[in-house]
Subunit: 139 residues, 2 copies
C-alpha cells in the first residue's frame, strides 16, 4: 500500500512542477558565473532540429531553463505563442487534436506536461553538473 502511494506521488504533476523549481534554484545557486557557460556547446539533443536557428550553447539553455521556471512558478499560461506557431511539427499536430474528445485531450496534455517537466528537470541537473566540471569542482 505504501509502495502504491509512493508510486502515485512520483506521478503527481504538481510535485513534478515543484521538483523542477527546486532543481533550477539549485542550479542558480551553483552557477555563480553564468557567462562561463557561453560558447560551451550543448551535448545532448536539447536543440534538435532548431539547433541552427538558436544559440545552442549552455548559456542559452541556462536562460531558457530559468525562463521556464518563472512560468512554472507564476502558473501563468504564456500569451505569446509565437514559439509554438513557428514550430512546424507542433503546428501540424494541433489540427488532428482538435477532433479528439476532451477527456483524451486532457490526459494527453497532463501526461505531456508531466513528461516534459521530468525531462527539463534532468536537463537542469545535467547543466549544473557540467558547470561543476567547467570550474573544476568534483561531484
Amino acid at each position: 500500500m505504501q509502495y502504491a502511494e509512493a508510486k502515485y506521488n512520483r506521478n503527481s504533476l504538481l510535485l513534478a512542477l515543484r521538483r523542477y523549481s527546486s532543481v533550477v534554484s539549485n542550479m542558480e545557486q551553483t552557477v555563480l558565473v553564468p557567462s562561463l557557460l557561453r560558447d560551451v556547446p550543448s551535448e545532448d539533443e536539447w536543440d534538435g532540429d532548431a539547433a541552427e536557428e538558436s544559440c545552442g550553447d549552455l548559456y542559452g539553455n541556462y536562460l531558457t531553463l530559468k525562463a521556464i521556471r518563472n512560468t512554472v512558478e507564476s502558473g501563468l499560461v504564456p500569451l505569446d505563442d509565437r514559439k509554438v506557431k513557428s514550430n512546424t511539427a507542433l503546428s501540424k499536430t494541433l489540427e488532428p487534436l482538435l477532433d479528439t474528445d476532451p477527456e483524451a485531450l486532457f490526459r494527453f496534455h497532463l501526461k505531456g506536461l508531466f513528461s516534459v517537466m521530468t525531462d527539463l528537470t534532468k536537463k537542469t541537473q545535467s547543466l549544473t553538473e557540467k558547470y561543476k566540471d567547467i570550474i573544476g569542482v568534483s561531484h
Copy 2:
C-alpha cells in the same frame, strides 16, 4: 496595470484547474438524480469520432466530467494510458512532438491543458443547464 494583472489571472493554469473543480461541484449539487441524464443524447461535438464506440448520452458525460475532476484534484498523472494509445489521432501526433525542443513542448502542453480545462468547464456548465431544463427549473 490592474487590467494587465486581471488578464494574467485569467490565463493561470492553476486557476483554470480550480475553476473546473468548482463547476463540477456545482454540477453535482444540482444534478440530484443523475439517472435522468440517461439516454439524453449529447448535442455538442463532445464525442466526435468516438461517438459510436462510447455511450454518447449525458449520463456518460456526467461520469466523465466527475472522473476528470478527481484526477485534477488529486494532481496525479493517470498511469493507465490506454485511452490515449487507442486514439489514432493522438498517437500520430506523438511522434513529431518527440523531435521538438523541450521549451516548445512545455508551452504546447501548458497551453493545451489550459485550453482543454476551459473547454471542459464550459461543457460542465452546459450539462448543468441541460439538467435544469430536464427537471423544468428555469435559469
